[in-house]
Every structure is written in C-alpha cells, then in structure tokens.
C-alpha cells in the first residue's frame, strides 16, 4: 500500500475539485464513490484547518524579541 502524499493547500483543493468532477460524472461505482467521499472529506478538513490558522486574528511578533527568546532558550538548554 502506498502512503497518501502530504498535501499542501493548493494540492488539496486541486484534488477536491478532481474528486467532485469524478463524482459529478456519475461513472464511479459505489465502492469508488465511498472511497472518494472519504478522501474528499479528509481534504476539506485539512483545508479548513489551514484556513483556520490564518483566520483566528493577526498575531504580530518582533524578530528581535523572537531571536532573544530563542537565544535564551539555547543558553538554558546548554
């Protein structure tokens, strides 16, 4: 069994469109339809999660503070 490829937002939406086209064609049998539906719903979840990540509200950080935090973390670790 080949593992499913890791999707980016673009590849996921492209695959969803492909799945819907196949289902719209009416050529998919019951087993294929159910498989496509399962895959499509998984991809919709993935895309929705990506959109949620950039929809919760703008988070602003300063690079100098971020670098200082990382450096203090490294010092603490060493």
């Amino acid at each position: 069994m080949s593992s499913e490829p890791a999707h980016t937002y673009e590849t996921a939406t492209a695959r969803i469109e492909e799945i819907i086209r196949r289902l719209d064609s009416g050529e998919a049998g019951l087993r294929e339809t159910l498989d496509l539906l399962r895959e499509g719903r998984g991809l919709v979840e993935l895309c929705a999660a990506e959109l949620d990540e950039v929809g919760r509200g703008l988070q602003e950080l300063r690079l100098d503070e971020l670098v200082a935090r990382l450096e203090s973390g490294e010092r603490a670790a060493s």
Binding site: T13, E17, L23, T33, L37, L51, G55, L58, L63, V67
Partner: protein, 430 residues
C-alpha cells in the same frame, strides 16, 4: 518703507541693513564671480514650466542647478536620469526673493554636455551582470511559494507608511495569520547590512513561509542600499522566498532582480505573499463540502431506490405484458372490421364499372345499325348503281349532262355513259 531699528547692543558689526538691499547686494556679488564649467552626476532632475532643476553631485559635495527650460529643451537631451554624468557651464546666482516669494541659490546653467553614464549606474550594471553570470538572479524564482502562508516575515522601517500598507494588503486578502516584523533602517549606509541580517534571522528562526521587504518610493540614490552586493547575495541564497517592494517600477534596484517577486508597492507585495483570497477560499471550500455531502446522500439513497425498483420489476413486467396483449387483441378486432368494410366497398365499385361497360356496348351496336342504314340510302342514290341497272347518262362535249331531246339535238355529238364504259354518239333527227 520701514524705519531702521536700533542694532544689537554691544555688537561690533555694521548695520542693521534692510534685508532686501543686502540680498540684492549678495546677488550682485555672486554675479561678479567668474563663469566656469563643472562636472558631476545629475540627481533629482525635474522640469518646471519655465526652468529645469537638478542637483550636481560628486563624492565631495553638491550644487543646486537650474537652467532656462527653453535653453535646455533646445539641446534635445530629454530628461536627465539620476546618475547621468554631465559637464555644465554657468555661474552662481542668487535670487533675492521678496516679501511674498522665497529666495534661493542655484548654479545658473547656460550649457550642458552629457559626459557618459554616471559611475553609480555603471557600477550597478556591472554588479547586475556579475550576479547574473553567477546564476544568482534565478534561485529565488525557483522557490515554491505557498498559496496560504501561516507566517510572513516583513522587513521594513519601524515607523513608516510601508508597514501600514503591508497590513492593508494582508487585510485585503482576508489573511490574519502570524507576522514577524524585522524592523531595519531602509535608507542610510547602515541599511544594507541591517536588512541582510534581518533576512538571515527571519529565515533562521523557522516557520517563516515568505518574507516581504518593503519601503516606500524614493530616488535611486535613496534606494541605493537595496543594490548592495552582500545584501543581494544573501537574498539570492536564502531558502525562503523574498518579495521585494522597495521602489517604483522606474527605479529598479538589484534586490528587485534577485528576489522571487518584485512588486511596485508594499500593498501589492503583501497580496503577492498571500496569493489566495481567504474569504473566497472559505466560500469555495464550503461549496465543495456541500457538494461532497450531496454526493454522499445520493450515493446511498439513489442506489436504495434502484434496488427497490429492481425488486418490483417481475410483477411490473407481467402487468406490462398483459396490457400489451389486450392492446394487440383490440387492434386485431378493429383490423377485421376494417377489412370487411373495405371488401364491400370494392364489390360495389366493380358492379358499377360493369353496368357502365354494358351500356356502352349497346350504344355501339345502335350506332353501327344507323350507319348501315345511311349507307344503304346513300347507295340508292349513287348514279353508278342506276347505270348498272340499264340506264345511260348523256353528256355533251364539255361533260355537261344532257337531260332533254332538244338539248341532245342542239349538242349533236354526245357521249353515252353506261354502267361499264362510255361511247360517243351523233344525234340524227329523223
């Protein structure tokens, strides 16, 4: 004319003089200076209605210059580009101004000659060619840019319009993720190393999907820090895509050449950093989810209906056959009735034809009998038949019929026509 006020107590200097008269004196003094030729690089050329203005610069200093526009246009040089090296002729001039206009100093130019491309632009061009030859103009353009970055790094001045413009561009996309601000000077000679360091740090902290370098417009001289060789080499080799927005399309910097994308404004740069309109993407995703659900329902319901149809099929088939048989029977009976009627009609038509045929034959026989009668009547009047019975026809020499004895005597010679032939005769009256 205002009265002359007292001077500053304790001052050893002459005066006070009225400023206007001093300004005019200064103007006259400057005009006395020798006319000379100068050379340097042109910056900030602009043409007003009557005069053109520019600065003449080199590494040691600069002079504001102005020239009558008609004289400049007559040279046919066109607008002078920043960095263009020129030789100008003229002398210093001071406009003393007035109560309502500002004074200004300028080198009054009477002639200009282009002396080749400015050192700065030539240097830029050499550097661009060197970077191109090393293949450093393309690596950024090969980097994949995500449609929906989670974290965007932004290098810009801490206080400036560019920062607000970037935020406006992100809002326009409906994007509200994480922004990491890397504030750096964007104009002076310390700018390039600070920007290069900020870019390297942004790439190093991890999680930054794309970086925007933003600055409002300015002359190429002001944007020179974005042509720094070390900065451009840093950007070219950065593993994170950089979107440059540091000037206008007329002022192309080297950073514009090495970056993944070059935009004319910080707002456009922000939109290029988030290619996807998040609002539309959400709507499209909701639509896709709804369509998948609809297919999910149909996949089961439609098939259940199809099964139900199949289970009812045998009974429906018998019913259909029964109906078809009844229909066939009705059609057969109707056809039988139609056949009888047709035969009856055909017989009647035949009888009529026969009757008409008999009447025609009788008429034909009657017509033949009438003809025979007429023929016999005609035969009875035929002179040939009379002659055959023993009569003779008397004719004169001219063929005329002689019907009396006197006429015969008068004629003398006659012809006697019998049934078989004619003979000539002479009348002798006894």
């Amino acid at each position: 004319m205002s009265t002359r006020p007292d001077g500053i107590p304790g001052s050893l200097l002459k005066g006070p003089f009225a400023v206007g008269s001093y300004a005019r004196m200064l103007q006259e003094e400057l005009r006395k200076r020798a006319r000379v030729q100068l050379f340097g690089e042109v910056w900030g050329f602009r043409a007003a209605r009557a005069r053109v203005y520019f600065e003449l610069r080199d590494g040691e200093g600069a002079l504001p210059c102005s020239m009558w526009r008609a004289d400049f246009d007559a040279l046919g040089l066109g607008p002078l580009a920043d960095g263009a090296q020129v030789v100008v002729a003229g002398g210093p001039s001071y406009y003393p101004g007035s109560r309502t206009s500002s004074p200004h100093f300028a080198f009054d130019v009477t002639a200009v000659r282009l002396a080749g491309e400015g050192d700065l632009l030539a240097q830029l061009d050499r550097l661009r060619k060197a970077l191109d030859a090393e293949g450093l103009l393309t690596p950024q353009k090969r980097l994949a840019r995500p449609a929906l970055p989670r974290t965007i790094g932004v290098v810009c001045a801490e206080r400036g319009k560019a920062r607000d413009d970037v935020l406006a561009g992100l809002r326009r996309r409906g994007w509200a993720g994480r922004v990491v601000w890397a504030f750096a000077p964007v104009q002076d000679r310390h700018a390039a190393p600070a920007i290069a360091r900020a870019l390297a740090d942004l790439a190093a902290v991890g999680g930054v999907d794309v970086i925007v370098v933003a600055r409002g417009g300015g002359s190429l001289a002001d944007l020179f820090c974005f042509c720094d060789e070390i900065l451009c080499r840093t950007v070219a080799l950065l593993p994170v895509p950089v979107i440059a927005s540091v000037g206008h399309h007329t002022d192309r910097t080297l950073l514009d050449d090495v970056a993944a994308v070059s935009c004319s404004t910080p707002t456009h740069a922000a939109e290029a950093a988030v290619p996807l309109d998040c609002g539309r993407a959400r709507a499209a995703l909701a639509d896709a989810a709804a369509r998948l659900d609809a297919h999910g329902r149909r996949a089961v319901v439609d098939r259940a209906r199809a099964l139900a149809r199949l289970s009812r099929a045998p009974a429906q088939h018998l019913d259909r056959q029964r109906v078809a048989l009844r229909q066939s029977l009705r059609e057969l009976r109707a056809a039988g009735r139609r056949g009888l009627a047709a035969r009856r009609d055909r017989t009647a038509r035949h009888a009529l034809v026969l009757a008409r045929k008999g009447a025609a034959e009788q008429a034909q026989a009657a017509r033949a009998a009438t003809l025979e009668r007429l023929r016999l009547a005609l035969d009875a009047h035929d002179p040939a038949r009379t002659l055959e019975r023993g009569y003779a026809l008397v004719q004169d020499r001219d063929g005329g019929v002689v019907t009396s004895a006197r006429a015969a005597r008068d004629a003398g010679d006659v012809r006697l026509r019998f049934g078989d032939a004619a003979v000539d005769a002479t009348i002798r009256d006894a």
